[in-house]
């Protein structure tokens, strides 16, 4: 959501809000359609099958996020710099020819793609968690609350949210997705967890400890100059 806000602000502040508003609206409608179509379709499956599918998707998605977050924290990948991305987007948008007519299709497409592609990750989490827990209302409510918070903050500060600790958040989300993917996937496949639902906390703690251990180990392998550079970034 933070990345989507960066793109939208860069386009809107350079080319005006008119077409950007349509782009955001169309993307939100497309995302609502994705949730409305995929959510009920998933709930038609038997619970065990559903949990294996959801578990696999969460594992796959969560591990990708976690791996990237570990690499960023260890200094192997550059941190997401919203201010830099904002400047690049503004430069690219300015370089494009000015809009002809009332509808600026360049601004529309850019804002649509930004909101839709970034929002798809959120829609995916809403659909999988909602289906596995059989509570779509709660998941949609939580996603909308996050959207409202990001929008309000964006409107107030009117600049990219470069101070949001995005990697820390992605680290946490990656750990949570991997944990729930492990728990639901194994349960759906027929395993019985010792301690029932309490196992979720144990898995989360174990994954967190290993992830921090990996960050420390990877940082130890970095040349000291590079480490200082990563910390300064």
């Amino acid at each position: 959501m933070v990345e989507a806000l960066t793109i939208v602000l860069a386009v809107a502040l350079t080319r005006g809000w008119h077409s950007v508003r349509y782009g955001i609206g169309a993307a939100l409608l497309a995302l609502a359609a994705v949730v409305a179509l995929l959510g009920p379709a998933l709930t038609l499956l038997p619970l065990a099958t559903l949990r294996v599918i959801v578990g696999f998707l969460l594992l796959s998605f969560g591990l990708q996020w976690l791996r990237k977050a570990i690499l960023r924290s260890a200094g192997y990948l550059p941190m997401h710099d919203e201010a830099k991305i904002f400047e690049r987007e503004v430069a690219e948008t300015r370089a494009h020819a000015a809009a002809q007519g009332s509808m600026d299709w360049y601004a529309f497409t850019l804002s649509f793609k930004g909101v839709f592609l970034e929002g798809l990750e959120v829609a995916f989490v809403v659909v999988t968690f909602g289906a596995a827990h059989d509570d779509f209302a709660l998941m949609i409510g939580a996603a909308l609350a996050a959207l409202i918070v990001v929008t309000i903050v964006g409107v107030i500060v009117h600049r990219p949210l470069s101070r949001v600790p995005e990697n820390t958040m992605k680290f946490g989300v990656g750990l949570m997705l991997t944990t729930f993917g492990t728990f639901w996937g194994s349960e759906g496949a027929g395993a019985t967890w010792p301690g029932g639902d309490a196992a979720i906390l144990v898995i989360l703690l174990a994954y967190t400890a290993i992830a921090f251990g990996l960050v420390a180990w990877l940082r130890g392998r970095l040349p000291s100059a590079e480490l200082a550079l990563g910390e300064a970034a």
């Binding site: 796959s60 990708q64 976690l66 200094g75 798809l120 995916f124 492990t182 027929g190 395993a191 990877l218």
Partner: protein, 67 residues
């Protein structure tokens, strides 16, 4: 045909991501869990062990930027 390829490639990138080994490993872990669980064995530990092994395996050979 090209839009179909682009569509498939988008979903591949979205679900499988940069390292396909993580997705394949996750599927194998859940498959092995199901295999042993349905034969009455305690299989809860399989997925966490495979997940952690995968994570370590995909990070061990990573090189620092610029090296």
């Amino acid at each position: 045909m090209s839009w179909l390829r682009r569509f498939a490639s988008f979903w591949w990138d979205f679900v499988i991501g940069d390292d396909w080994r993580l997705a394949i490993g996750g599927a194998i872990a859940l498959g092995a869990t199901g295999f042993f669980a349905h034969r009455g064995a305690a299989a809860w530990w399989i997925t966490p062990v495979v997940v952690l092994t995968l994570l370590v395996a995909t990070l061990v050979r990573v090189k620092p930027r610029g090296s």
